[in-house]
């Protein structure tokens, strides 16, 4: 990504006495993980392209506590949540967009009862919104005719019933969308959720991401599209396990859209 990204912080907005249209919650993976950072940058590219007045918290952002909560550490979760809520409320944040369905779910559903009430959306929903309001469009050339299969993230799909936004956005690339046998509400988890990302799996006869990648490979895809940084890692590893990394790309929807400008 050679072009300069414009990433203003809330602090800068505050200093100028302005409010951005939306806060981009980058999340821990999006901030530090090398693969996820590419997704973050692709999404910023989209935001810049659509002239979205956005800001990030930068060093003032801290982990949502989602993964601690799912690991059973409610204390740590609530500590993190209350710290973040203090920052978000101090900046009078109204609307939040994030590329991580786990942050999305946590901010949207679990922060309100602790005093954090925001309109939280997933980046695929925001991209769809930008497209339908005419602020963003795709060329429809880069992926024309390519076979793309979308892997539903659990925390976007089953957890929050959003199955259409990612698919609607993908359609604009003119790619051929194929569905895995398990999709939407019956989609199989990539294996990373519930803090599994940070530990070795229990004894079994297969890793979950390998099974899920098998589902994807059955659709003979050129690209496996994801909407979650953790799913992206798991599916990439699954593709490598099958030695298909030469033929099949695993890309986030933000990357697909950013590449098709």
């Amino acid at each position: 990504m050679s072009e300069q990204l414009n990433v203003p912080t809330m602090e800068q907005y505050m200093a100028e006495g302005k409010q951005p249209e939306i806060l981009f919650w980058v999340g821990s993976a999006g901030s530090y993980d090398d693969r996820a950072k590419k997704i973050t940058k692709a999404f910023v590219k989209i935001l810049n392209k659509a002239n979205v007045d956005f800001a990030v918290l930068g060093a003032e952002e801290s982990n949502t506590g989602d993964v601690a909560k799912r690991a059973g550490n409610e204390f740590l979760f609530q500590m993190q949540a209350m710290m973040n809520i203090e920052v978000l409320n101090a900046y009078e944040v109204k609307r939040i967009v994030t590329c991580d369905p786990h942050s999305f779910n946590c901010l949207k559903n679990e922060y309100p009862s602790l005093g954090g009430n925001y309109d939280v959306i997933h980046h695929t929903q925001f991209i769809k919104e930008l497209m339908s309001s005419g602020r963003l469009s795709t060329e429809g050339q880069t992926y024309k005719g390519k076979r793309i299969t979308f892997h539903d993230p659990c925390y976007l799909g089953r957890a929050n019933n959003e199955y259409d936004a990612p698919r609607d956005v993908l359609k604009t690339t003119n790619a051929t969308l194929t569905e895995m046998k398990r999709h939407k509400s019956t989609a199989l988890c990539c294996g990373a959720g519930g803090a599994q990302m940070f530990k070795e799996p229990e004894k079994g006869d297969m890793d979950i991401n390998v099974l899920r990648t098998k589902d994807a490979l059955e659709t003979k895809p050129d690209i496996i599209a994801t909407g979650c940084p953790y799913c992206n890692t798991m599916m990439s590893d699954g593709v490598k396990f099958n030695e298909k990394e030469g033929e099949i790309q695993v890309l986030d929807i933000a990357e697909l859209i950013a590449n098709d400008q």
Binding site: N73, Q78, A159, L188, E202
Partner: protein, 437 residues
Amino acid sequence: MEYIPNILFAIILVLGIGYFARNVKRLIRNIKLGREVDTSDNTSERWRNMIRIALGQSKMVKRPVAGILHIIVYIGFVIINIEVLEIIIDGIFGTHRIGLTVLPESVYGFLIGAFEVLAVLVLLAVIVFWTRRNVVKLKRFLSAEMTGWPKNDGNIILYFEVVLMCLFLVMNATDTTFQEANSGNIISQFIAPWFGDNADTLVIIERTAWWLHIIGILIFLNYLYFSKHLHILLAFPNTYYGSVEPKGKFNNLEAVTNEVKLMMDPNADPFAAAPEGTEEEEPAKFGASDVMDLNRVQLLSAYTCTECGRCTSACPANLTGKKLSPRKIMMDTRDRLEEVGKNIDANGGEFKDDGKQLLGDYITNEELWACTTCNACVEECPVSINPLSIILDMRRYLVMEQSAAPMELNNMMTNIENNGAPWPYNQMDRLNWAKEE
């Protein structure tokens, strides 16, 4: 002497219903061992869920073969039971087919005809079910937890249904008045010839079938409490009390909120005496290690589970050979709850510590840590059971009461505590990505 059958009938009826009522009371008491949970919200949505999911069987048909067959058995069961009403009236008052007297013959014929058709459909469905369990050997009926009693239970229920349906048809076929009226004997007219035309024999067979039918129904009713089959009743309250929130929303523990607020309040005095009236309160236990720590909806769900295994067959951990099975979580919860209930009964209404608990004695840490919290089990359950909520509550106990998380998770959590990310990166570097090429 002529009232003996009536009296006998009334006694059997009272015994059958009375014993069932006793067990229902026990069931309610056991459920109330759980923590209270506020379910007074969203009343209309809750009713809608119950009507759609339990009454309307909306989630059953997601798997069409089992779903449609199940609907046949369900409708058959509900409708044929109207016939039981007639049996009870006849039994108590010594009448014979009171319906024929009070209803126009065509209406009565239509009703019984419908029952007979349904009885045959139920028989066919039950045969398919039996075949799926015992011949086709569907994977989800062969899991480790489905041996012994759970396996036999599944089959016994099917045998019960076969016997009850056959008795109903035989009863109709050998009832000469009913056959002579020739209205509604759609199926039984073809069975009638098998029993010959000796009037005395027919009466004996008819009476025997009639008595066995009603006794069978009462036995079946009382079998429910000991069986996974309780779902025919509990599916209704369970879908009512089931969550009306997005599946991703996990509850925030209030006890934790209070402590965290205290910790974050710069003016709070940690050594201050508890406010008046709260002194006697035991410190809250975080999470669940036994059934009493779970909430009442979770315990109701444990009794509601009919062990169909749709949850387990969709669980990513289970599909990849891990020990976790969401169905087993529910079965273990019920087994332990029953054990606690029996303990209370044996000790004069008071639970005596038996040195056992749900965690460890029934559900292992290995199972709990295999869960990805993906909600596939919750999505699959046709009666709104949430095994994930129990897994989460038990993880909470492991982490907050026992500090017993796997080491890698402890490292991850220490990182979050220290630098606000699951990895050991400096929080001040959180925006570095924006400057990197």
